[in-house]
Symmetry: C2
Subunit: 429 residues, 2 copies
């Protein structure tokens, strides 16, 4: 096994769920690219005893590197530097060069944001953020907090990399972290670890489990994990050493043979990337008209850079008047079949196409809940239509879960409808 | 201190960041309402040794209850039940009643989704999902996985509650979990723990740190954590026992006196809730016209149930033609000042208002990046305008970070502009 790392995320706001952790996932992916596997992510609040215990457990977990995120701010609940130093019996000293850098950053921020800072309070904040454990290497601050690389004091223990919580600051420091000799030494002897994903749309997990059991004998050395995303997409991610590439290729071939209708990606690309690539290479354009998802599909279609090449725009038509005036859905049709109906979904798709002069239009109308359902049209019922290039695809979704679940699921279904429409309407070469 | 719980999230897809954990935050909030504090969240992959070690560390962490999520599926990487049983030296037995329930659920799913299941494979999956540790209580499955409540075998150790990974299934089981006598006994003697939030918009964290240091002597018994959200919103969350209510009230009064211009919520309501409450109580309507955020603001304005009362709809105007045709921005204006300009933001706000017959319109145009920037108009530059009710507010944002950061920040700024416009345009009683 290659080198392994653990991540300690600090902050009561993350622990109690008020803020989602974005650093653990990002660090895990960076480490994997560097050939380092991730063993554990621990999320802990801003309480000294808990932090001390979590740090002790991770130091005993047999990992090669610990990375902490957060807890470097100016307020009293920011404790990371102090506790990392004390775990290794290192004194804290004021770093005058760092103090100057932090002061400069705060002066810059203060002038660009027109803050009126109290000098004495500011000086105390700067001093707190300029304390460094004896023997640690400082990574210059991007915001107001520096990063630290703290070597192990006991042989066999992992060094600790201390990074700030704001994702942009942490990410900006990463190249300095992986260039550091202490970090490099901790991760030497690492083996390359490959990771590849296969994605299916519409195959139940139990079927996949059966396939994997059937070919179990050929899976030695492949670490396979499966997960169901957005209630419909089955993702199979495999991690393996380069020597196992033939076994992995055989697995992919087997999955392709078993699931020709539902396997939509064998090269790691997501549905978003497949749709973007198809639209760009064929110079096609898309427009949306959304009721219950209210812009979330347009938002997702523009997640990737370069999306202005294919997304011309969209209509958010929450009210019936907007459906009629903006998307041209006949008021008579809404009166006759209701706003939540396959007919209105089709009219929305056509309206989006027409009004935005796009090749393909997608219409979504449904009941996201929690209120507004009826026995006929329950919460979670969503009608979708994608049309264009001479093709029309429709779908009736009955999504379980919360309002947010229903909306996210509808957006995912729409992405797959678009993918399949593009497949079906493939222009002959 | 009251009862404390730890959460063990299993799944390589969560550990490696491919899927965001939604269960830890949800459980933390439910436990807090129940008076139970959360000590730690551990995220671990689908590897037996890591899972075993993480479970052992949490059993030794001095908590009163452990909740695991995930790892209950039919595939071989789903290991939670087996490892929880083995940690407590409990045998696994097949539960025939559960086997029947799981088989029923799969038959239902299979018929509604038109799956064509292989009977033998299905039977093996059902059997695996019907194994129960000796002495555990079963919570009937919502999807295909049951929940389990496994009492402690050694006195002083915490019981373990085993729940499935899909959030809707886990949430549906929660009432059965808190009603269970083993769980109730583990959490008895719990003290009520209150949690309240104060929110500021535009005050730097270092200023707040200074204020808290100045009144430090009056903060005993209040556990205060601060965090900066979306690069602009400063959230101060305090946890305290009922006896400390007067100290908390004094803190809030102090903050209100110190930050009259930036403290916008002292009662826990978010900016989303404040905006929704103001719009509903004053029967006002909103419409959006978005370029770089492409529907994300409309999506956020409809996150809350009941939003059809105020959000009429929106325009996603990615292309310049859409800006002109849909929102009525003069093509001549775009040619003269550029699509990313304060003038176009104002025209978009006006266009949204006119075209959707809304009281208030919001326009957003900017450069989300990573490409498309210039020295004059760098990536991260976003112009916003909110207008209506005789008021116009404009804002020039220079957001750091990634494409996703810039878009999320712009949406948050827009929410606060809307909040302030509603304040400014308050209708006399």
């Amino acid at each position: 096994m290659g080198a392994r790392a653990a991540i300690l995320v600090t902050g009561t706001e993350v622990l109690t769920g008020r803020v989602a952790d974005r650093n653990g996932p990002w660090l895990a992916e960076q480490l994997r690219r560097f050939g380092v596997d991730i063993a554990q992510v621990t999320v802990i609040g801003d309480r000294p005893d808990d932090l001390r215990r979590a740090l002790r457990d991770l130091r005993a977990a047999g990992v090669d590197l610990i990375i902490t995120t957060g807890g470097l701010g100016p307020t009293a609940d920011d404790l990371t530097t102090e506790l990392v130093a004390s775990a290794q019996a290192r004194a804290l000293r004021l770093d005058p060069e760092l103090e100057r850098q932090v002061a400069d950053r705060i002066a810059q921020l203060s002038s660009s944001r027109k803050w009126d800072l109290e000098p004495q309070a500011t000086a105390a904040s700067i001093r707190k953020q300029s304390l460094v454990p004896e023997g640690a290497t400082v990574i210059a601050p991007v915001g107001t907090a520096a990063g630290l690389i703290v070597p192990a004091t006991v042989s066999g223990e992992p060094p600790v990399v201390v990074l700030p919580g704001p994702p942009f600051e942490l990410q900006s420091m990463w190249s300095a972290v992986v260039a550091d000799p202490v970090v490099r030494a901790a991760l030497t002897g690492r083996a390359e670890l490959r990771q590849s994903a296969v994605r299916l749309w519409g195959t139940p997990e139990s079927e996949l489990a059966a396939t994997l059991r059937r070919i179990e004998h050929s899976l030695d050395g492949l670490e396979i994990t499966t997960c169901l995303r957005d209630g419909g997409e089955l993702e199979i991610v495999t991690r393996y050493s380069p020597a196992m590439q033939p076994a992995y290729d055989a697995l992919v071939a087997e999955l392709q043979a078993t699931y020709p209708g539902t396997l939509f990606s064998a090269d790691g690309r997501t549905v978003d990337e497949l749709v973007a690539d198809a639209l760009i290479s064929r110079q096609l354009t898309v427009a949306t008209a959304e009721s219950c998802t209210a812009g979330l599909l347009a938002g997702r279609l523009t997640d990737l850079p370069g999306s202005s090449a294919y997304l011309l725009g969209g209509l958010v038509v929450y009210s019936n008047r907007a459906k009629a005036e903006l998307a041209g859905v006949p008021a008579e049709l809404i009166a006759r079949v209701g706003a939540v109906s396959p007919e209105v979904a089709a009219a929305l798709a056509g309206g989006a196409r027409d009004r935005l002069h796009a090749d393909i239009g997608i219409g979504i109308t449904g009941i996201a809940g929690p209120d507004g359902g009826s026995p006929d049209k329950p919460v979670g019922l969503v009608y979708l239509c994608a049309s264009g290039l001479g093709v029309e695809r429709t779908h009736t979704l009955r999504a379980p879960g919360s309002r947010a679940d229903v909306r996210a699921r509808a957006v995912s279904v729409a992405m797959h409808m678009l993918r399949r429409l593009l497949d079906e309407a493939r222009v002959p070469a």
